[in-house]
């Protein structure tokens, strides 16, 4: 009972600074004066917006998976270091966050451009003759977004891995499990919770993100958040609200499905032992 009470400050914060304010905007946008589904039908029937929606999903999924594949081994590496050395290795992962996302995105323009560092180096080395188009492509979006999101995944994986009792791994080894088997049977399942959470956080953040695609993506790399802020600039709150609701609903649905599936997986694994 008393534990439930600790939810109160969180609920109060989210109610006053998110639910009520966003509710006001949604209500202003969607009740005209009675509720209208006009904005939702506009979203569903215009090919352009559906395409932007799928693009947003796809970019977010690719970025989240790329972060998982790169970040998980990094977290694993850090957690296997002596405890005293870990903070420094973690620090190196986190320190680039001091640079604003906007400035980082412009820095990629200098790197990936036609006359940028990479093309110039490749030409100087004689590997290519004509510059490769890297800037303003979907690939550039992935590079830029992974650079921003990767620390989140590493940190989330890491903090769940530190909870894993190293003696379990040792025990598995003593019982004759090969290192690979010990990793697969003991470490991987125990670190899955953190890995899935990290991947989900990256996915969620990517769904609401737009600076990188807007600045270094191609003409088809538009994200939902980009359209939403454009609609707000035009004082078109109704359509902005409808798009935000679609984005929110889709993301939360995926979140619930993945968490449900992962809970079953983890639970299943626990029962098997």
């Amino acid at each position: 009972m008393s534990k439930r009470l600790t939810l109160l400050p969180g609920i109060a914060l989210i109610l006053i600074l998110f639910l009520i304010p966003v509710g006001i905007v949604f209500q202003q946008g969607l009740f005209d004066p009675a509720f209208t589904i006009e904005h939702f039908t506009r979203f569903a029937t215009r090919g352009a917006y559906m395409r932007i929606f799928w693009n947003t999903l796809q970019v977010s999924a690719v970025v989240a998976l790329a972060c998982l594949l790169i970040g998980y081994p990094i977290a694993y590496f850090i957690v296997r270091q002596p405890t005293a050395r870990r903070p420094f290795l973690m620090f190196l992962v986190l320190v680039p966050m001091w640079m604003s996302i906007l400035a980082r995105t412009y820095a990629w323009m200098v790197v990936l451009g036609k006359e940028g560092i990479i093309n110039q180096t490749l030409i100087a080395l004689g590997i290519i003759d004509t510059p490769i188009q890297m800037l303003f492509t979907t690939g550039a979006v992935y590079v830029g977004m992974v650079q921003i999101m990767l620390p989140i995944l590493i940190v989330t994986c890491f903090s769940s891995m530190t909870e894993i009792d190293q003696s379990l791994l040792r025990a598995a080894r003593i019982m004759g499990a090969s290192p690979r088997k010990a990793f697969r049977e003991v470490f991987l399942p125990l670190s899955a919770e953190g890995a899935i959470t990290g991947t989900l956080i990256v996915f969620i953040l990517s769904m609401g993100f737009f600076i990188v695609p807007a600045l270094i993506g191609g003409r088809k790399d538009t994200m939902m958040a980009n359209v939403i802020s454009g609609q707000v600039s035009q004082t078109n709150w109704g359509f902005a609200a409808a798009l935000a609701i679609v984005l929110l609903a889709a993301t939360l649905l995926i979140l619930t499905l993945v968490r449900g599936a992962s809970a079953k997986l983890v639970h299943h694994h626990e029962e098997a032992h």
């Binding site: 215009r46 352009a48 036609k114 188009q133 800037l135 600045l215 454009g230 035009q234």
Partner: protein
């Protein structure tokens, strides 16, 4: 360095001015913040406070049309005077969120041309979306002088960029297609005219490397050599050229835009607001001082008498340049942006 020094001097002066002024009330001005606000503080705000005793509280704001709408919803106005871009002005004006201005009080000596004095706003500054050209990327002995040249990808090979929005581009396309700048909006008002503009844009679309979304992008791309020809806001191109990058502005077919100042309806400081707008707009000396620091000149008569010619000719409203351009029609776009933007979004994703 000079600008930095001047800015520091201004800021120091400002601190002193602020402590010296005893409040005759405070005027809240919704501007853009940043370096621009620092320049405005030195040229307009502090002298205004010294003269009238009214303190100016300069805000950094964005999405001003939506912010004004939010104040309507909240039922309380928190700004007195606001800066507005053309679309924001059109939205605010058509929605009736702006207070009427009494120009007989604000400009008794007719220092401003009638074009600058609207019923509910003044034109405080101007800029232009122009064609910027990297001269070292041009074919031997050729000059790019018109939007028709920009569309001529065989005669002028090289990377191109345009802004990712219908405003300006539909006008440029029609001008490239032979419409006189003066007739652009008559043509664009018809469905056939819009089809014609999009058809012309179809021709150039495969050759546009980048559809830019932020004003700093074309500047960076010209500087990096990522593109050779692009639409861009005039202000920074002049500075880029001064930095030694081989780049020129082609004024022919540029779209002049206004930055409006207006009093928010419901403000309790209408009188002080009118005084401030008048102070900002009607002195050619002050306007020249502002324009020499930020290349977005005002409309006051005699402005260019106070600006050296080599600087003045880089500005959109200079007599040499103004005739080649068209004036972006804020009210046309205020009314038509919705459907045209939707069509644009479909078109860009095709």
């Amino acid at each position: 360095m000079k600008l930095t020094k001047t800015l520091t001097a201004f800021t120091l002066g400002a601190t002193m001015a602020a402590s010296a002024a005893f409040a005759e009330g405070t005027l809240t001005y919704a501007g853009s913040g940043g370096g621009l606000a620092q320049v405005m503080k030195g040229v307009f705000d502090d002298p205004f406070t010294a003269e009238t005793g009214i303190a100016v509280n300069a805000l950094a704001t964005s999405d001003r049309a939506s912010a004004l709408k939010a104040m309507q919803v909240a039922g309380k106005v928190t700004w007195d005077v606001t800066e507005l871009n053309p679309i924001e002005y059109a939205t605010a004006s058509l929605s009736g969120w702006l207070a009427p201005l009494d120009w007989s009080v604000m400009d008794p000596n007719n220092a401003l041309p009638d074009d600058a004095k609207l019923a509910d706003a003044g034109i405080a500054a101007t800029f232009s979306t122009v064609m910027a050209v990297r001269t070292d990327k041009l074919p031997e002995g050729k000059q790019m002088t018109s939007w028709a040249d920009f569309w001529n990808v065989e005669g002028f090979p090289g990377g191109r960029a345009l802004q990712n929005q219908p405003i300006d581009n539909l006008e440029f396309a029609l001008i490239a297609d032979g419409v006189a700048p003066a007739d652009v909006y008559t043509v664009l008002a018809t469905e056939e005219g819009q089809d014609r503009a999009f058809a012309k844009l179809d021709e150039i679309k495969p050759h546009i490397a980048v559809w830019w979304t932020a004003g700093a992008q074309p500047v960076q791309m010209l500087s990096d050599g990522e593109v050779a020809y692009t639409s861009a806001w005039n202000g920074r191109i002049a500075k880029l050229a001064a930095e030694g990058v081989p780049v020129t502005i082609n004024w022919n077919g540029g779209g002049i835009k206004a930055s409006y100042v207006a009093i928010v309806k419901g403000s309790e400081n209408v009188e002080a607001g009118q005084k401030y707008i008048s102070f900002m707009m009607t002195s050619p000396e002050r306007a020249a001082q502002f324009a020499s620091m930020v290349p977005y000149p005002g409309m006051v008569k005699g402005l260019y008498d106070h600006i050296p010619a080599e600087k003045g000719t880089m500005m959109p409203t200079h007599p040499n340049n103004v005739g080649d351009q068209f004036v972006t029609n804020a009210l046309f776009w205020g009314k038509n942006l919705g459907p045209l933007k939707e069509r644009w979004e479909d078109w860009i994703l095709e």
